[in-house]
């Protein structure tokens, strides 16, 4: 495989944006500037970006409670996201959604979802639209290892096979559903295999390897565009932070996170690979780091400065007409 510099630069930029965005979100949360429950995506960037680099704005994704990375990878504006996460006017959803309910239909981002397992049935619907309207677009649902135990996900897998829907199920196995180990909660110990048993091809990959994710998704997306139906993918990833920001994570082994951050950082992995192969230089990547830092700074500053929503917003947008 060879990749164009533009492709590589864009992929890196997006992954880095997610990383710095999440680190800033954590900081702002800890400073009391972000209300509610927030689940950070840092550590899993290679999955969101490896998947979404295969997609156009007309393809759609369905996300989870841990959705910031998916949003950014799908092209959502980070300033609008930061405002949303802070509950401010001008947020992508006017501040009414918050971290767990960011959507941007114009970008094909069908929504984060605070209900575990809520997304895959909806993505079947987007895939059904694509199939019925003949657009050749595809849908990708993201789910966690924990989410893979929800009945809604099982139903969605089966329906996707029955209707041969252009739907790629991406399971991000970060080893935990909150403070419960995937090895405990997934009885079969095998998310992809269990999903594949519904009657679709399945594959596992190292989710910190951007290229592995990208290639596996490419195949699945092409298959879907050809009208050959769904695929189940499982990416082995790591959760760098708590389940939610503020989680004391007592259930994790001492030193686990430190070691994961040292050994299993997808951004480090990416940099090593692309510089090692001679595809990009460190200088090119550093330049991106700088511009992303500035972008995230701007997002945070604008988020903090943004006004609160007008109280009248409480009553709008319940219906289109009533």
């Amino acid at each position: 495989m060879s990749y164009s510099p533009e492709f590589l630069l864009e992929s890196y930029r997006t992954m880095k944006t997610i990383r710095l965005f999440e680190e800033r979100v954590i900081k702002e949360f800890e400073a009391g500037n972000i209300p509610g429950f927030v689940h950070a995506y840092d550590g899993q960037e290679a999955v969101a970006v490896g998947v979404c680099m295969n997609l156009t704005d007309k393809d759609v994704i369905g996300s989870t409670h841990r959705g910031h990375g998916h949003c950014i990878a799908k092209g959502c504006d980070v300033v609008g996201m930061m405002k949303e996460i802070m509950g401010k006017a001008g947020g992508l959803c006017k501040g009414k959604g918050g971290s767990m309910h960011i959507a941007d239909f114009d970008k094909g981002m069908l929504g984060a979802n605070a209900i575990v397992g809520g997304g895959p049935p909806l993505c079947n619907g987007a895939a059904l639209s694509a199939k019925t309207l003949g657009t050749k677009d595809v849908a990708v649902s993201f789910s966690g290892d924990g989410s893979s135990n929800q009945g809604t996900v099982a139903e969605a897998l089966n329906l996707a096979v029955v209707l041969k829907l252009p739907h790629v199920f991406m399971f991000e196995n970060n080893g935990y559903g909150e403070g419960t180990g995937a090895d405990y909660a997934v009885g079969s110990g095998d998310v992809a295999g269990r999903a594949g048993a519904y009657g679709m091809p399945s594959a596992k990959m190292d989710g910190i390897d951007f290229f592995a994710v990208y290639e596996a998704t490419r195949e699945a997306v092409e298959r879907a565009r050809r009208g050959e139906g769904p695929t189940a993918l499982e990416a082995d990833v790591v959760r760098f932070d708590g389940h939610f920001i503020g989680d004391p994570q007592l259930y994790r082994a001492k030193g686990e996170i430190k070691q994961l951050r040292a050994d299993r950082d997808c951004l480090k992995h990416f940099r090593a690979r692309v510089t090692g192969e001679g595809w990009l230089s460190d200088a090119q990547l550093d330049e991106i780091d700088e511009s992303v830092t500035a972008l995230v700074e701007k997002a945070a500053a604008e988020g903090l400065a943004a006004p609160q929503p007008d109280i009248s917003e409480l009553y709008t947008d319940v219906y289109i007409s009533y």
Partner: protein
Amino acid sequence: MNNPQQVVTPPQSGTSSIKTMREAINEALHQEMERDPTVIVMGEEVSGGAGCQGQDDAYGGVFGLTKGLMPKFGRERVIDTPISESAIIGAAAGAANTGLRPVAELMFFDFIGVCFDQIFNQAAKFRYMFGGKARTPMVIRGTVGAGLRAGAQHSSMLHPVVVHTPGLKVVIPSNAYDAKGLLIAAIRDDDPVIFLEHKLLYDTKCEVPDEPYVIPFGEAAFTREGSDATIVAIGAMVPRANAVADKLAQEGIHVDVIDPRTLAPLDDEAIIESVEVSGRLVIVDEAHERCSLAADISSIVAEKAFHALRAPIRKVTAPHTPVPFSPVLEDAYMPSEDRIEQAVRDVLGA
């Protein structure tokens, strides 16, 4: 009951004929699928025969509501599904977000139990949560109510659960004419609409125009008129209320019978106006009494027409029990004409 539409004027031009509610709903589906290629129908057995060696369209819905659609529009637009209601409703909602207008069937509305999240937490909330950007033009059709000896898990009303939920519109027609116009309105509506069909009404008939027409949401129908008392009734309770009204009319007691037709939005003004005149209200609701639509309407009227009320509002509801199987018990479970009549006499006597 002979003519439940006596107060509603049918469209003035075009042909019409006597149709059952089943036929009227089926016709609405045909006409909307014809008119708009983005309308699809999905659910269990909406055609029937998928993966079988006999006839297609074997059922056309277990109650025959979607009969003939598959032969005409094909399996791509009339989609038989596995028995997976969360997947059905989720697919409908996601499809509605992305360019289709799905009409999903819940064979029995009791099955919301296995897909309630996709209804109340997903479809109903998208528009609000996403800051006004989502459009979810979908209809969920389902059979409600007791009377067919279908037992506790296939006979519920459950409209209070969906009326309670912001973001959902809730429709329950009481006759074939309304059913057609309301279903067409539901399909054209840009919000999620719950369309509840009472089992006992499928074979009831009235004059129904052949052309498509729309009955706007939020406009109650007066199926009987009179100033002595007001009866509000919904679904299968409307013909019963009408029968009581007709009987009382022979004694010179004249009552308004109001069929809200849509429960969300609710035409509370029509009800209040009627009560302002009559001062007496009976609400007939086949749901269990606690947190019911009867309670809802009672509380609205008690607040907004307080000074007009000349007697306590009477609710005639199902008891706080599951629906029993035994026919004698099920008949006692449902609000009967006798109980409605007694309630009207009570409010008149007070």
